[in-house]
């Protein structure tokens, strides 16, 4: 089979996985099912990053989103429900107005994205990006890099302070 055609078919499979599992996240009644569908969305987006030649970002996506944020969300689901409450229903409301609004937003976005005359600088070859990203972070983006580290420290201390039980 033609290699190019094969890669296109795999791309469409990943696209269907991403959008389909995101739809499960949004429309599923069960919170646990939403959380596990989010796993497939994050994994599919990581695969799309590989298609875009962003190998470092794909690994970061797997480590931080799947390994960190998703586990954190699952903790959030588990800790805020009683364990015997097995169904863990998430209520939905304003369904129809939201659906209409979202369809309008989506069609507007797609309409203008496809009409716009994007620059055509050509594609970047799929070369390893880790060294280039590291050099850029240490040279051109050193200030945002340091600010981000302080920001993470502040956010984590703040999170720990918020959930701490008040001592009597």
């Amino acid at each position: 089979m033609d290699k190019n055609l094969f890669s296109q078919i795999v791309f469409y499979c990943f696209a269907v996985v991403v959008v389909g599992s995101a739809a499960v996240v949004v429309f599923s009644r069960s919170l646990i099912r939403s959380a596990f569908a989010l796993l497939f969305t994050f994994g599919g987006v990581a695969a799309l990053y590989v298609y875009l030649g962003a190998d470092f970002l794909a690994a970061t996506q797997m480590v931080i989103y799947v390994g960190g944020i998703l586990v954190l969300l699952l903790f959030g689901v588990m800790l805020t429900h009683k364990l015997y409450d097995l169904n863990l229903r998430g209520e939905a409301f304003q369904f129809l107005p939201a659906l209409v609004l979202v369809l309008v937003v989506f069609s507007t976005l797609v309409f203008f994205m496809l009409r716009a005359d994007w620059f055509s600088g050509g594609e970047r070859a799929a070369t390893p990006t880790t060294a280039a990203i590291g050099e850029l972070l240490m040279r051109d983006f050193i200030l945002p890099f340091e600010v981000a580290s302080i920001f993470l420290l502040i956010a984590l201390i703040g999170a720990a302070l918020i959930v701490r039980r008040k001592s009597q």
Binding site: V26, V45, Y65, I69, H81, A92, Q94, E123, R124, I133
Partner: protein, 101 residues
């Protein structure tokens, strides 16, 4: 051939689904999941533009900073959700109306 438009449409779909999740859900954790979908769609856009703009890798740097902010946001937001659960024994956003006069 897979072009820029494919990625833009996928990211627009992710963004719309995230907005839908934020608008229709009452559970605070579920709303957070919608926000993560929106952040992922923004990331996908940035990386796609980075690929199709001939050698610019800055889009991926922006994407890394968005991931940093998303991680911090998830930690703080879940802390707030836990504190809210302790206070009103519920994560239903309609019940969190303590400021209402």
């Amino acid at each position: 051939m897979i072009g820029l438009g494919h990625y833009l449409i996928i990211s627009a779909a992710l963004f719309s689904l995230g907005i839908m999740c934020v608008l229709t859900r009452k559970n605070a954790v579920n709303v957070l999941m919608g926000i993560e979908l929106i952040l992922n769609s923004a990331n996908l856009n940035l990386v796609a533009f980075s690929k199709f703009s001939a050698g610019n890798i800055e889009g991926q740097i922006f994407s890394i900073f968005i991931i940093v902010v998303a991680a911090a946001e998830a930690a703080v937001a879940l802390a707030i959700v836990l504190a809210m659960y302790r206070l009103i024994k519920s994560v239903n956003l309609d019940r969190a109306d303590t400021l209402k006069g």
